[in-house]
């Protein structure tokens, strides 16, 4: 075994992790906020009389969309300034994993939570009387589509604060980085998809304010299903973090754990997006055709279940990689 200077490596991993966390984490929220501003401009040009209200709504929506980047900034600051104490080499892997997790995890939710804010601004120009309901619906929608970013924050915190010094170095380092990648990557699709559902619900409320009860309920159900891939990612992360792996010299075991994280992570992107599209369609049409709400919801759920099957394949392969290989 080579002689490592553990402290230096932990410091290096913290710096790299901080850069990754806020570098990637800055992508999503900026896109979402820009989209909100774009549609706010459109809304003002349609209905210049209420430009003040639209401006206020835009700022509130953008402040909520900013959350996921704030989470990334917090993780980056903690990585930079936290006192790690007498850390072992494993802590370096954990810190890198935390940075990766939060950086990737903030992308989808940042973009996604821009959609409801944007559609609420546009809806305000169409239906100024429904402003209170639109703002409420926007806040609920945007907050729920941040759930995947919150899962990433939870995993990043566990990786930051847990003490791994008792565990063997060889397979565990891969498990910790894999845990970060699993939740981080899986959160991209789910966050974006949840945002699509929330956006079309704001549009629906603006079209028919009295349907708000049904529209919000179907939006939440659709978002909950779209978040299932992120929950798979979280599940795999927890297994990778909390399971104790026996020490081994083989590189294959370690790579299997890393690949388990990558597998669920990438495998969750598509289903999250697809489920979001299904939910978007259902929510949009519920507002226009309330009597068929039950049919729409049933078809949405079945469609989402089918589109989710690929995430389940990825999950099964991950579990095989963790428990069999």
């Amino acid at each position: 075994m080579m002689e490592f200077d553990a402290q230096a490596w932990v410091g290096a991993a913290a710096v790299v992790g901080a850069g990754i966390a806020i570098g990637f984490g800055a992508i999503g929220a900026a896109i979402g906020e820009g989209y909100t501003a774009a549609l706010a401009n459109l809304a003002v040009s349609r209905n210049p009389k209420i430009s003040g209200d639209i401006f206020k709504n835009m700022l509130v929506g953008q402040a909520v969309a900013e959350s996921s980047s704030i989470f990334a900034l917090v993780v980056a600051i903690l990585l930079l300034f936290m006192d790690m104490g007498n850390a072992t080499m494993l802590k370096a892997a954990a810190l890198l994993g935390a940075g990766l997790c939060m950086g990737f995890g903030a992308i989808g939710s940042g973009i996604g939570s821009g959609f409801p804010a944007a559609q609420a601004c546009l809806g305000l120009s169409r239906q100024p009387a429904a402003s209170a309901r639109l703002t409420t619906n926007m806040l609920i929608g945007s907050a729920v589509c941040q759930t995947p970013a919150i899962f990433s924050l939870v995993v990043a915190f566990i990786l930051l604060f847990m003490d791994f010094s008792a565990e063997p170095f060889n397979p565990t380092w891969a498990a910790l980085i894999g845990a970060g990648l699993s939740t981080g990557l899986a959160a991209i699709g789910s966050g974006y998809g949840g945002g699509m559902a929330a956006g079309s619900s704001c549009e629906g409320v603006a079209r028919q304010p009295e349907t708000i009860g049904n529209v919000t309920t179907i939006m939440l159900v659709g978002q909950a299903v779209a978040q299932t891939p992120a929950i798979f990612g979280l599940l795999v992360s927890f297994i990778l973090i909390f399971k104790v792996f026996p020490e081994t010299a083989q590189i294959q075991t370690a790579m299997a754990l890393l690949s388990a994280g990558l597998c669920t992570g990438f495998g969750g992107i598509g289903p999250g997006l697809g489920n979001g599209m299904a939910a978007e369609g259902a929510v949009r049409w519920v507002a226009r055709n309330l009597p068929s709400a039950a049919d729409l919801m049933r078809i949405m759920l079945v469609g989402q279940a089918v589109s989710q099957s690929t995430a389940i394949y990825a999950l099964v392969v991950s579990l095989v990689l963790i428990f069999v290989v």
């Binding site: 509130v60 909520v64 900034l73 917090v74 903690l78 759930t147 009860g213 978040q227």
Partner: protein
């Protein structure tokens, strides 16, 4: 900067079990409760048909939240849930605002406060669901759309607690860490008041509203 992520704790060991008290959080929570009581007394004192300023504030506030509750759960449940929703909002918003007073800290900055509020909302929502639909119809919902989705539905429900409480915790703690770091970097010149206005008052209010509305929506999904 080294004490970032450290908490003052009182650890008492009782019969082999460790009881941990986060002293600052308990003190701050009591300050919030006292502030709420004072606020309540000021609003309701000398109330009359010709309202004074604070009475108008209180009446507008309560009226607004009754309306929001009615939109979500319908007419028959307003009386039952609106007081809960009002108190959750007031507690969370006062907690979030407390950080702008020097030497005081937001109780919501500690995960225990949002987590217990989240668990409270979760238990109330599910109890309300069982009461209004009956246990059979309540349990049947977990087997939608297909029966083998049951474990996922259960995990999804539990994930709601995590997401609602970590959303509040992450935003408030994030705000206070950002304020701390930037104040440190700019030697407390010029910037901190604006940051406090943004993260303390604005984000604090929005997040308190989001937390309250999500609690309300989770109840409304269950009772409908």
């Amino acid at each position: 900067m080294g004490d970032l992520g450290r908490i003052h704790q009182l650890i008492i060991s009782v019969g082999g079990q460790k009881l941990t008290f986060n002293l600052e959080v308990i003190l701050m929570t009591w300050i919030v409760i006292a502030a709420l009581l004072v606020f309540g007394v000021i609003i309701s004192r000398k109330s009359g048909i010709l309202p004074h300023t604070m009475q108008v504030v209180g009446e507008l506030f309560v009226g607004q939240f009754y309306q929001l509750t009615e939109d979500a759960v319908g007419k028959e449940y307003v009386e039952k849930y609106a007081p809960l929703i009002c108190s959750v909002f007031m507690f969370v918003v006062f907690s979030n605002w407390l950080g702008i007073v020097p030497h005081l800290e937001e109780p919501t900055k500690d995960l225990n406060t949002p987590l217990s509020l989240g668990i409270m909302g979760f238990v109330i929502a599910h109890y309300a669901g069982i009461r209004s639909k009956g246990f059979k119809a309540y349990a049947k919902e977990y087997f939608q759309p297909v029966f083998f989705m049951m474990p996922l539905n259960v995990i999804g429900e539990v994930a709601k607690i995590i997401s609602i409480s970590f959303r509040l915790f992450g935003n408030i703690m994030g705000g206070s860490i950002i304020i701390l770091v930037i104040t440190h970097l700019c030697f407390s010149v010029l910037l901190p008041p604006f940051l406090l206005a943004f993260f303390g008052i604005f984000v604090g209010t929005v997040q308190a509203f989001v937390f309250t509305m999500l609690t309300l929506v989770y109840i409304s999904i269950q009772v409908k």
